[in-house]
């Protein structure tokens, strides 16, 4: 199937550029450093209210990483093809636009998830070298991983959408950066001014910090799951339509 062929190419292409390794290295470094700092903080202060995981996914470094990682992961997916002209070669092969969009999306999402594997390694190392071992709450870990994956899927789809709009990678990155930042600021809104309950409800519905706060303490909420899946599907559908339109307009 063409999707699988394209997906393999998309995913492996990340490892053929230096940017990918730099982003991976940077992410691992920042994640590792934050993890160490947080573990020390929790130990020194004998802090019992929150786990390391809880603090880790709620502090600004997580957002900083997300806002930088997603544009760097997705900016090239379509822009580069437009710039090099390879899109013409790609779309004159017997493949559908859907296959192309999905392959690019899942390729980018896979790389994004790779960028978060260092956290799993950090947790593993903490288990290995602590005595006594800190408890592992699998439902919390699982839900956090699910939330990061689903929200990652949504933000990656926004990045893929940004990339299909332009042949300039910088513009694609800036677009994606603005999209992700917009969602971040929406979630900060409640700290800035008083908002009524209805609006707050809407904000909580789309706000990743709220979702993560629930996930890291093991509360499973189906609303974010529905939101991320439908929103991602919608953005990908728009992307596919734009890709078709772009080709149709020449």
């Amino acid at each position: 199937m063409a999707f699988w062929t394209l997906y393999k190419r998309e995913f492996s292409s990340y490892f053929q550029s230096a940017v990918a390794y730099i982003v991976l290295f940077g992410s691992a470094l920042i994640q590792g450093a934050s993890f160490i700092i947080l573990v020390r903080m929790v130990m020194d202060a004998n802090y019992k209210q929150q786990s390391v995981m809880q603090i880790f996914f709620n502090w600004p470094i997580f957002w900083f990483l997300l806002i930088v990682q997603v544009p760097l992961t997705t900016m090239r997916v379509f822009s580069e093809e437009f710039k090099l002209g390879t899109i013409e070669m790609l779309l004159t092969a017997p493949v559908t636009e859907w296959e192309v969009v999905l392959a690019k999306f899942f390729g980018a999402l896979s790389f994004f998830l790779i960028l978060w594997t260092p956290v799993a390694i950090d947790i593993g190392l903490l288990q290995l070298f602590s005595n006594p071992r800190p408890p592992l709450y699998w439902d919390q870990i699982g839900l956090t991983a699910l939330t990061v994956t689903l929200s990652g899927a949504f933000y990656v789809s926004l990045g893929v959408f940004g990339s299909v709009l332009t042949k300039n990678q910088i513009i694609a990155a800036v677009l994606c950066f603005s999209f992700v930042l917009a969602f971040f600021f929406i979630s900060l809104w409640k700290y800035v001014q008083h908002i009524d309950a209805t609006t707050l409800g809407w904000i909580q519905y789309v706000s990743l910090p709220e979702h993560l706060q629930n996930a890291v303490i093991g509360i499973f909420d189906t609303r974010p799951v529905v939101f991320y899946i439908t929103a991602t599907t919608f953005v990908l559908l728009v992307t596919k339509t734009i890709l078709e339109g772009r080709r149709l307009r020449g």
């Binding site: 063409a2 070669m89 092969a93 017997p94």
Partner: protein, 322 residues
């Protein structure tokens, strides 16, 4: 998608009826019609901006036509795009390639994408590398290859799935004369089993490889014929060079009196009493004997009497100039 039945019988490999393509108000192609038979090698000629690349992009299914109907191997390019694309090997202008991939890796990827059976991929990739002489660079990264090699990678990609029809947009642009010759031989060889539509600016190439020429200018087809017939059509086709010892005016007057002569031009007024003239006859009429009769009757000394064949270049200029 409508009509996914395989159509075993189709008359033409390419059938274009009334194709128009408009880009944001500019009519790049204006209602052209032509067809290409199975097994033909057709050259697509025209000045820059004439609509060659646009037509090829529409045929390859990359751009949709604004108007008109196109069938390739019996399938409609719009409604059965995927079926059409399976049967076409398209090499776009400037050969865009993934510069970060290695040659073999790239060709395998393309073969897989073009639905070559899994067990045949390796064999096909080896075959096309062999035919395009890519063996010595098979493990190199495409970004590091020279223009000539990239062109060959593009050609290898176009033929990797053994398509019925090859559409090659300027396959020899930017190559050195040796490479041009190699590509030309390859195209001739491919033409034994495939139908080929190629565009080029090198007219000698068309004369050597193509069985038919389509001349396109300002979005319209100006001529469709064999290279040999095209050259006969033009004004210079079958013109006669004559050099005799007589005054220019006299020669012109005598020659103009002959039937079928359209024009006589004095080329170089010879100061030693010789006149060099070019006589334009009606297309397709051989007047050499009559010219000789005139020379003999006047007892002129004769130094040259030759028929000049028009080149395709002249035909091209005549057909595409305002």
């Amino acid at each position: 998608m409508a009509g996914n039945f395989p159509l075993p019988f189709f008359r033409y490999m390419i059938e274009v009826e009334n194709l128009s393509k408009t880009y944001s108000g500019f009519r790049a192609v204006q209602g052209i019609s032509f067809h290409v038979d199975k097994g033909e090698i057709v050259g697509f000629l025209g000045p820059n901006g004439a609509g060659k690349s646009t037509t090829m992009k529409v045929l390859a299914g990359y751009l949709p036509p604004t108007d008109g109907k196109i069938r390739i191997a019996g399938y409609d390019v719009v409604t059965d795009s995927i079926e059409v694309r399976k049967r076409i090997g398209y090499m776009p202008e400037n050969v865009p390639l993934y510069t970060d991939m290695r040659v073999t890796e790239f060709l395998r990827f393309r073969a897989e994408l073009k639905k070559v059976a899994r067990r045949k991929i390796k064999e096909r990739v080896e075959q096309v590398k062999e035919r395009t002489s890519l063996k010595d660079v098979e493990n190199k990264i495409i970004g590091t290859l020279s223009k000539g090699y990239r062109q060959r990678v593009g050609l290898a990609d176009a033929m990797v799935h053994d398509p019925d029809l090859l559409i090659l947009d300027e396959p020899t642009i930017g190559l050195d004369p040796n490479q041009i010759r190699a590509v030309r031989d390859l195209i001739k060889d491919l033409g034994k089993h495939h139908t080929i539509l190629l565009s080029t600016h090198i007219l000698s190439e068309v004369e050597l490889t193509c069985s038919r020429v389509l001349v396109i200018n300002r979005g319209r087809i100006e001529a469709s014929d064999t290279p040999a017939n095209l050259t006969k059509l033009v004004r210079g086709g079958g013109s006669i060079l004559l050099e005799v010892k007589a005054s220019g005016a006299d020669v012109v007057a005598q020659m103009k009196a002959l039937p079928d002569v359209e024009d006589v031009e004095v080329l170089l007024p010879g100061d030693d009493g010789w006149s060099h003239v070019k006589i334009f006859a009606k297309p397709g009429v051989d007047i050499r004997e009559k010219v000789y009769d005139v020379v003999r009757k006047n007892n002129w000394l004769l130094r040259e009497l030759a028929r000049v064949k028009a080149t395709l270049e002249e035909a091209f200029v005549e057909l595409t100039q305002e």
